[in-house]
Amino acid sequence: MTKEEKYTLAKWAMNHALENGAQEVSVNISNNQSSSIEVREEKIDKLEQALQSNLSIRLFVDKKYSSHSTSRLNKEDLARFIEEAIEGTKYLSEDEFRTLPDPELYYKGDGPDLGSLDKNFGNVDPEEKIQAAFAAEKEILGSNERIISVSSSYYDGLNERVMVNSNGFEGDTANSYFGLYTNVSVKGDGDARPEFGWGETAIKYNELKKTGTGTTALKRALDKIGAKKIESGTMPMIVENRVVSRIFSPLMNALDGSAIQQKNSFLIDKLGEKVASEKLTLTDDPFIIGGRGSRLFDGEGIATKKRSVFEKGVLKRYYIDTYYGKKLEMEPNSGATTNLVFETGDKDLDALITSVKKGIFVTGFNGGNSNGSTGDFSYGIEGFLVENGEIVKPVTEMNITGNMKTLWANVGEIGNDVREDSSWRTPSILFNDVDFSGL
């Protein structure tokens, strides 16, 4: 579907809902196309192509609310689908807080190009994609006798979406992605077969780094050989930038409007208070050119804005959408994160490691969870023992356990090795006094 066709269908669906009993309507239509090629043992192992279309509709009917989605986009089917959905909605309870956003807050157009789309998306030679995957595998195939299995994948995709709201919003987005990934398993000690996967991603094909996934994955798999648990103890922990999000996401979840209103947050009533180390300064910036979370408007159509989240450990905002804004009597400020930008320290990862006398450098998590309402957490980890500033040996089969409030109050150092291939632009972070369990 072209953008114009999507707009036409979305407006038709919106009007059909308005004509059949809905007072307010929001319609999203999306197309997603994707392809992937996985190679193994110098053959194509899997070849996948997908083209997906979806319509989702949010209905506000007699102060009642429901949302629906379907992959059946012909008008005849959609008409019945919408009529039935409106009928069904009438059996729900009223919810006075459900409305579309205040039109004043909508994105009005004329924003900058945020660089989310490769305009040459369709022009990449399919043979070149296949060769990129083979080349990644070839980097390491047969290069080490410990290798058991190597698989490399090339993948790409294009997501296009239009949204119309019945109180005066129209907007569309398009974003593309390209990726290369290599996974390698190696013979370890005993029956263990350590593995590691390394990937590169880019918004534009020409910016995709085509080399190094194989060699990086192999090096990191080999580094894990012989990993064992060590004694339990309270030690500093350095968490690698790639995996920081596992322990950072519970902190962000605690700022979510629904978590606040539903009492499932450990940061209720903490706006303006110091809740974390003063080393934590974080900004939500939707306007970074080429940022993976960049956007001009949010899922409701509200214009995005650069906002401070934490300033020297002081909580500056929650994430409030229209619905929970009404319930909490707070101004909506968009319910979802865009790009999260840390104020960095002056140490890179090596310097962080050098600064630790005895601690653990965490490079991966294994399961675990965090209790939303209390912040109590426990996660499985793997990584390396650090002694006197040097990596000594790989460790695995251990847990870290504690509370999110304490953990983020104990930030020792924010690294400067920010990852830019993610909307959460996390650096490596050093935490003090973390409880590790092992032997």
Binding site: I44, L47, R72, L92, K263, N366, G367, G368, E397, F436
Partner: protein, 508 residues
């Protein structure tokens, strides 16, 4: 009888009057001998056997060894309650066909959300590209395969109006508020699913399945002074509307309140290695993570599982029998056929302590020269099948729970979990304990909460030193993820003792 075939596709179940069901008799439009049942599925998907053959021939046109078509129409309806009222609903309709072509162990896959012949042929051409020679395909005769019937139901969810479901969700809220004055919030909801599946392959097998599913959950939030805690209860089964009862509402409400109350008194154990007693039921997550995934034959075929060299070797005590079963009546993990059209079975992974079988899909079964075990599953027509678990459990052992507790001086007892994970190659697995107890001198003492337990698969399996005779299946909303695909599963366990695993806790 005049039936508007297109009604089947549009119906959401939200409509008050209910909707159409499959027509019992429909005129045949071709001369192939097929049953009324299969015919109704062909009509449901608006295809004919001639069309299926054309699509298969195109899929095989580049010299593939095998091809299959997986048609799916899934209707999902959800209701949820927040702040005392059932004030939101969600529905989704998914419709399409996945087309897969195999050449040796190589896979080509594409799908189409439109079932017009041209759209299917285009997808078939894409999938065909996995092979690159010319076709030597000879169309096979139809062999209609009647599916098993592991989930008999009385009233289909498509025939149930939203207004008949709302009261159950409301009642669970009211019941929970009535049980304890510490309750400050309740979230509750239910989600039902009706899935029509039709399968056809290049060997001529034509089969189908109708898969109902219902999930019902309640989250209870309580406050005591400054402390806020929450816990949930959930059930999910392949049953019809008749499953919803007031007794079920009471059961969910009581369980959610009980579990939440426990947390106010709970602390953390000491950090480190210790004996772990796993309570009957949901503790089957141990099997799912420690053993189940590593027994999936795609990993073993590639040599990447820690169990890759262990077939027919002793991996556990003699009294241990571990099963993956797709045939449990009305179970969330049951399937009448797998997503490659094969019969499902009760598969012994470990029999008398010996590794007996991996979990196979078509590709791995061929590789190992065995019959498929019916574990080829996929999230939807948009995904290719992979070896996946169904219901994974351990049979009863020779011990009593008293004997098991008596064997522990200091350790933990755990019986309430939220999630787990495993590293296939290293064998390290974890599961997150929502609540349990410390065991001291054979007795349950202080409650514990929110700790992760980590172990190593082969070691933990070998370390199961005792198993009781109280096996229980857990009918929670377990969903298993692999390669970005989710499938419903269940699990079960009798009370067992694992000699030692590493328990998250404090070092103070």
């Amino acid at each position: 009888m005049k039936v508007d075939r297109r009604d089947f596709i549009k119906t959401s179940g939200m409509f008050a009057a209910g909707s159409m069901v499959l027509p019992p008799f429909v005129q045949s439009c071709q001369n192939v001998q097929i049953s009324a049942d299969v015919k109704s599925y062909l009509d449901h998907f608006e295809v004919t056997t001639e069309m299926l053959q054309k699509v298969i021939a195109t899929a095989m046109s580049k010299g593939g060894d095998y091809a299959d078509l997986f048609f799916e129409h899934k209707i999902t309806n959800s209701l949820a309650l927040e702040d005392g009222k059932v004030n939101r609903a969600y529905s989704n309709i998914d419709f399409g066909v996945g087309i897969r072509v195999l050449k040796g162990d190589q896979t080509g896959f594409a799908y189409s959300e439109n079932i017009a012949l041209d759209d299917m042929l285009n997808a078939a051409k894409m999938a065909a590209n996995i092979a690159n020679s010319s076709s030597n395909f000879n169309a096979a005769d139809y062999n209609e395969k009647l599916p098993a019937n592991y989930y008999k139901i009385s009233k289909k969810w498509e025939d149930v109006s939203v207004k008949d479901k709302v009261p159950f969700v409301q009642k669970v809220n009211d019941k929970i508020f009535g049980l304890d004055e510490k309750v400050i919030k309740v979230n509750a909801g239910m989600s039902d699913e009706s899935s029509y599946v039709m399968f056809y392959n290049s060997e001529g097998r034509l089969t189908h399945d109708y898969r109902p599913m219902i999930s019902f959950y309640a989250v209870c939030v309580m406050q005591d002074g400054e402390q806020i805690e929450n816990a949930y209860s959930a059930r999910s089964v392949r049953r019809g509307f008749e499953w919803l009862t007031d007794d079920l509402v009471d059961e969910l409400a009581n369980e959610a309140v009980e579990k939440t109350n426990l947390l106010f008194k709970a602390g953390k154990p000491k950090a480190g290695e210790m004996p772990v007693v796993l309570g009957a039921g949901g503790s089957g997550i141990l099997l799912h993570e420690a053993i189940g995934h590593t027994f999936e034959a795609d990993f073993n075929r590639k040599g990447t599982s820690i169990f890759s060299d262990k077939l027919n070797k002793k991996v556990a005590e003699n009294f241990i029998n571990i099963i993956d079963d797709g045939t449990l009546p009305n179970d969330r993990g049951a399937i009448n056929i797998d997503d490659e059209g094969n019969d499902v079975q009760k598969t012994y992974l470990v029999k008398d302590g010996i590794l007996n079988s991996y979990l196979h899909d078509r590709i791995s079964a061929k590789y190992y020269g065995v019959e498929p075990t019916g574990n080829g599953r996929r999230e939807s027509f948009r995904h290719m099948p992979l070896p996946r678990m169904r219901s994974t459990y351990m049979e009863n052992g020779p011990h009593t729970t008293e004997e098991i507790f008596a064997a522990v001086d200091y350790g933990v007892y755990v019986d309430n979990f939220s999630n787990g994970e495993v590293k296939i190659g290293a064998g390290d697995f974890t599961f997150f304990v929502k609540s349990g107890y410390i065991i001291e001198n054979g007795k349950l003492t202080t409650p514990i909460k929110d700790i992760n337990i980590v172990g190593n698969g082969p070691q933990a399996l070998a370390d199961i030193s005792m198993a009781a005779n109280d096996y229980k299946n857990d009918s929670g909303t377990w969903t298993c993820g692999k390669d970005g695909q989710s499938v419903p599963v269940t699990l079960g366990l009798p009370t067992v003792l694992v000699k030692k695993m590493t328990v998250g806790g404090t070092n103070a």
